[in-house]
Symmetry: D2
């Protein structure tokens, strides 16, 4: 489904080349101050514009459809939509015959018996992340005293990200990256021992973001190579503070009051300028393929704010359950 | 909550030192042949016994409580319980004062205001995975024609696992490992573009297993360092077969008909024999700490069958939704 | 929450005097033909205009926001909105001080700490039923071969409904009514024995409609006075047809293949033209009260199509689960 | 599914003639005092024994499987089971050929392709209500300061219930009844305007009880014949107290702080001693039929405590969401 959360529940809708994309937040508490401009900082961070990002630019002005009255949330479903006003659908007609490698074109066509809106990836487009970011900004307001911050720490295997982008432009090939996210100020006790472990809930949210292929908490994969005596974080005071933080702020699926920390692997943008191979349905043969449309060379540049958004959404749900 | 799945829904209950641990499967189709002995192979794989595993041994004989008639599932809730008959609770009394590093003792005490059953980790114990494994064996029967296989590919950073265990025994320190899981035979089309992406659903399930700290699909974290032209898997026939499988069998959150592949990081067992440090509530100071009870030196040895189980459970749900 | 259904899941949003009201259907199968005009018959039935209905008239032209491509559903979330273009908010300012008897004004103010949009009932308004009716029209398309039909069989205690309305107009007092609903063509086997019994699911949906205060299936309350030998429906052929239908087409919570039948009690419109009493927050005393705004004298006239809608929505969910 | 509730979530399992029936409560807060004997009063009220009830008697001694430690709930899933120790399965062999009128035999056989446990109704048996009653007793402990009380106000159309039972015994025909339920002490604000209206949630729960065919809140069906000026309840003080209570304590789906009141129609026990007609699968003809097994002549006698239980369960969920 296109819904996430149990009591702070968000639902997204829309397509890349449709009229609007949007989000409904059901279960948003009443009385939260909210104006269009409150969403601007996060929406701006998500926007294209930097080197390595798509030339498609949207205004991304949020339209509050419901759930807001006198600039305060009402407790009723909060629906926010964004117009799609910079759409060039003709670019996508070839998708039907030659599914783009790395994209969902082939699987969407099969899954929906050809009825899916294929233009620009349709509902599966990264365009939908504008709705996630808007919901994330609202979630952050609920997480009073808690800060969620994600940054791109590596692109194309290089921690000098500007250099990485310049190389990608020179190579005319897309690259991926690593996003690191830290949440400070969480109380002890969010999450459950098994199915709703904090790792389960956050990874569920984070893998909702297109292009994410790995998530690790605390020392993550490196922990698999550590000895227990090194990995265990000694508890050093009555509040549960630990000397090290290999656990990434989570023990047994539950927040332990230390910083929550995780890292995310972003694959290279599927739409690379380089020539590739794909199956041509019409000719029934493998053929060279060059992507059309406007795309990001390094989508990872735009991912941190989306990681923050879905993390805030996931934690707002756990927080409201806990409160 | 302690429930996972939408239409093949499992719920677990029980504590390490309680009477029984068990699982209820709601939404299991009627007419599936099932006998106690069908569960034995997976339960045996999960059991202790090898070098590096705990001396606590349970018979792990499943008791079918409901949902089975004439050795076939009835369509009613299928409840399976296991007795806990090898319990030494006195080992755990010290936990209340000195929470074990790396364990959930501290957070459970806070979250449940001290009312949690702390013996052996209570409900948060790895003992509960016997219920997951039982449910997984049932799920595998639903996934007709689909094979789920997980193996430990690395322990303590060493691909020679026997050597790794011997070193851990010699060092008297616990170690972690990497579990690799492959699912063959999946149709195209399981999963959803965003919140119920296959990655979201499987990672949610996998992070339910105690000690898991990372999950990566396909090339995973390595993808973050690859160029798009290398990472993209060329589609080579009408069924969507790809030449490479960097995507791990998933595009845009949806299975693409190729093998599903992911890897899991297992942290070292929290209960290492080495002396550690923790906070002593009684003395209000940090003190040396040595773990009591019987434990696995390398819990990762017993994790593969649990990874298979939760993966099968997650896929059975997607499969029944898709069918 | 404002969501109903498990796999055909609808979410509503909007307020009486807001910009738009709307609905998102998540889980709508791909490939269903759908045009604006397909919704017109049901939307027209819901509209005001007859004697006894409100002078507020809306165009109720559906705007398809997402999930539709080339006039077919795509499998992505289907969002439909309606403009509110005939709004007179000034009528409602007094509500804050003097909550209207029979309305939710008082409880909404308390529940949402005064932050609710009180204009015209805000999100709690019957205006939202336009979204239910739209979703119902889509649900009916899924229920291929199944007909859902509801009619007003009684108003103000009179089966001559025209006479009842004329009397209400003459009395200048609002009236209620009884809606009878029949579903033909259902297969045997929808529903579950306990919590998702057909009665549970349909009553849940039907009590979502404002002003509904009773639901009875088959012989309903009359069954409480019948002998078992009279009430039981004899099975008369291999398909499970019964000679009588006191069960209303449901045995043990599950459809039995006979017509599903239930009746619904609609209370009189809360906004009666007669003078009433209510608490005045400002004066802190009980005072005479006369309702402002434009209202239906017999809202029950407009309820049948809404009952059909929510019934179709509930059954579409059970149907897709069953298929 | 066999699950009810969002954060106080109960799941039932078991069959009439199986080993155990039981319930798991997930989301039960930690620290609630609970002993076997606390469940006894409600379990006793549900038991057979009075004139008009089945000769099958169970000890109904609750076994706490999990979630309880030192006689307090732990916050982990609370599982309670009951042995079935008075089972005579041979009585039921004829069901396969001649489905009992008024029972679910026919629909269960179809729905589950003949794999259902048909003995004594299997999972669909009223025996499962012992699990509901146990969960209800726990729910009542959560509803601190709130009282839920249901009584049988009418049997076989007679308010003198003893006389009604005597007549049913004399007639050797089963009868139904009306159960009236009142909840006192509720705060203002439980419930939601549409899909989770208090009426929706309670009716959902109540129609989970076998044999219930109607539910009405406040004046219910009588409201359909009242004028608005009579039906509306005048608000008479700042707490929202109303002079009358035609609304049954609910406005716009939300509790208004006055007593919650509803009535429930219980059909006559399907297993009447009288000869009936049903389809015989073997002979392919309609034939006279006489019920086997031990049954209640007036199951309505045992329903009030079950109505209380599911109402308490439903309200505990809304209460914990609200708190």
């Amino acid at each position: 489904m296109n819904t996430f959360g149990r009591i702070f529940r968000i639902s997204i809708f829309g397509e890349s080349h449709g009229k609007w994309v949007g989000v409904t937040i059901d279960g948003c508490p009443a009385g939260i101050a909210l104006r269009e401009e409150d969403l601007a900082p996060d929406l701006d961070r998500r926007k294209a514009g930097a080197a390595g990002t798509t030339p498609r630019k949207e205004d991304d002005m949020p339209i509050f459809v419901s759930g807001l009255f006198n600039n305060k949330t009402t407790g009723a479903p909060l629906t926010i939509v964004f117009e799609n006003n910079n759409v060039r659908s003709a670019d996508y007609d070839a998708i039907k015959a030659t599914p783009r490698p790395g994209h969902a074109d082939f699987v969407l066509d099969k899954k929906f018996n050809g009825f899916n809106d294929h233009r620009g990836g349709g509902h599966s487009s990264g365009r939908l992340t504008v709705a996630l970011v808007a919901a994330g900004s609202v979630a952050k307001k609920i997480l009073n005293g808690i800060t969620v911050s994600a940054t791109l720490t590596e692109a194309g295997g290089n921690t000098d990200i500007e250099a990485a982008i310049n190389k990608a432009i020179a190579d005319q090939d897309s690259i991926g990256g690593i996003v690191s996210c830290t949440v400070a100020g969480l109380p002890v006790g969010l999450g459950e021992p098994f199915f709703d472990s904090v790792e389960s809930v956050i990874s569920h949210a984070v893998f909702s973001i297109p292009a994410i292929k790995g998530v690790e908490f605390g020392s993550g994969f490196a922990a698999a190579r550590m000895a227990g005596s090194t990995h265990n974080d000694a508890i050093i005071n009555e509040h549960g503070a630990t000397g090290t933080n290999n656990a990434g702020g989570i023990n047994g699926g539950i927040t332990n009051g230390n910083d929550l920390h995780f890292r995310v692997a972003v694959k290279p943008t599927s739409s690379t300028p380089r020539e590739q191979q794909t199956w041509n349905k019409n000719t029934q043969s493998v053929e060279p393929f060059t992507v059309k449309g406007r795309h990001d060379l390094c989508i990872a540049l735009r991912v941190p704010v989306v990681v923050e958004a879905v993390t805030a959404i996931a934690l707002a749900d756990l927080w409201l359950l806990h409160a």
